[in-house]
């Protein structure tokens, strides 16, 4: 940044954003569970902004939701919940957007252009509502149903490969040179994608079929905001085996 741009007058240092600046210093807590891609999203967003936060692990597999979780998210009773100055924000993508807006001085997560933002939101919704359910279905079902689900997931990945080309404009990430909203939306699923690839013996993000996403997956996983919160494939694989046995062995707790 050249000298002229980096100069700020004393008045401008105390400009309009005093309320946001104050909010940005309030305590932050995340209620989560480590295998959840949705929790991972919240944590990556906070990491991008270098926000210090307290993390509370919820025992969801054991069916022991904390009182704080039940109080903070009474409608859905789900993680993640972000508590900022004790006020709860739920739903991973809403949290990511919130973090982006509150800590506006940090690197941008969502694009600034309204149309690009809308496209980012569109693809994130596609990933969550259409694409990832096919992957899960491939994993949890068997035989023909599983095969069809994985085939649909493959088709979806071709669309996402195309979306990546358009959004990245030749750079490393959906967000450009730095990870952004769509990187977080898709990348948060990478640990489970790798587990499912291993367990179901399929290749989803495939070097031949989706070369750009394949490279992106490596770059994303290595990013400083991501590497400590994306679980290792081995650790998550063990958890997945436990989850399946719980699902098969007992009546699932709703």
């Amino acid at each position: 940044m050249d000298a002229a741009k980096s100069f700020q007058s004393p008045e401008s240092l105390f400009v309009v954003h005093s309320e946001s600046a104050r909010m940005a210093t309030e305590t932050v807590k995340v209620l989560g569970c480590w295998p959840s891609p949705y929790v991972i999203r919240a944590r990556i967003a906070l990491n991008i902004k270098s926000v210090e936060y307290e993390y509370q692990e919820e025992d969801l597999l054991g069916g022991n939701k904390s009182d704080l979780l039940l109080k903070s998210n009474p409608v859905y009773k789900k993680v993640p919940v972000l508590l900022h100055a004790d006020r709860p924000i739920c739903e991973s993508l809403v949290i990511v957007q919130y973090v982006d807006e509150v800590w506006a001085s940090g690197p941008a997560i969502l694009p600034s252009d309204p149309y690009d933002r809308a496209i980012a939101r569109f693809w994130a919704i596609y990933m969550d509502d259409k694409w990832y359910p096919r992957v899960k279905e491939g994993f949890f079902s068997e035989g023909e149903a599983s095969k069809i689900a994985f085939e649909e997931a493959d088709k979806g990945l071709l669309l996402l490969e195309e979306a990546f080309t358009k959004c990245s404009k030749g750079q490393k990430f959906f967000g450009g040179e730095r990870i952004g909203y769509l990187d977080i939306a898709l990348g948060s699923h990478l640990a489970w994608i790798r587990v499912i690839e291993k367990a179901s013996n399929v290749s989803l993000i495939d070097e031949a079929k989706t070369p750009n996403l394949y490279k992106w997956a490596h770059d994303f996983s290595a990013d400083v905001a991501v590497k400590d919160v994306l679980p290792s494939t081995d650790k998550l694989y063990e958890f997945a085996k436990l989850l399946i046995s719980v699902m098969k062995g007992s009546t699932p707790e709703k």
Binding site: S20, M23, V75, H84, R87, I89, C90, E91, V94, I95, Q97, Y98, E101, V102, P114, Y115, R117, A118, I119, R121, F122, I125, Y126, L159
Partner: protein, 237 residues
Amino acid sequence: MEKKRDESSSVKLVGFWVSPFVHRVRWALKFKGIEYEYIEEDIFNKTPLLSELNPLYQKVPVLVHDGKPLSDSSIILEYVDQKWKPNPLLPDDPYERAQAHLWARFADEKVLESAWLALCSEGKTQERAVKQAIENLEKVEEKLKGKRFFGGDKIGHVDLMMGFVSYMLPVWEEVAGVKILDPLKFPAVAAWTNNFLNHEAIKAEYLPSRAETVAYFQWRRKELIPVYASYSRWSNK
């Protein structure tokens, strides 16, 4: 009657006359004072236009601004609010904005979904859907207590997203032969319904007649009951 626009209209909306998702966008555009060309698409006889503008889902509404298409009513509403700044629909404060997004999701994922299921089912499935819809409305009632609109004194994003409750839900109730929005049980929602429908931007915008809407959904209910009955996940909810 829509104003006649030439081909160079910078804002176009592709819609279907009775879709509540399309109505939301029309209200938003009216509220912002944006002139647009409306293009009716018969969703039961789709033209190539819809495949071109929304290849993934081929659904309405689609907003086309300066040649660039956008789909999904909540995405369109947010885009419109950001692109045309006067008369904001979403709050400035990030926390309030997050709450608005959450309530917008609640409107579609819970309120609309349960009411729609009540419309498209019968017997035990319908009973469960009605019960769910009432529970969802209880949360809405709580949210609206002491307020004219979800946004407070002024209409906002959540009001538009919940707008179907004011005029579409009563139609679905009549067609399905159920009662969900009882004004005695839900006085705040009932009051909001009046405030909403009497708001100048809502009143001035096109809404199909009740008779036409009833006839349409009577037909849809008949068509959809067997379809939804075969989805085991619905009966397990």
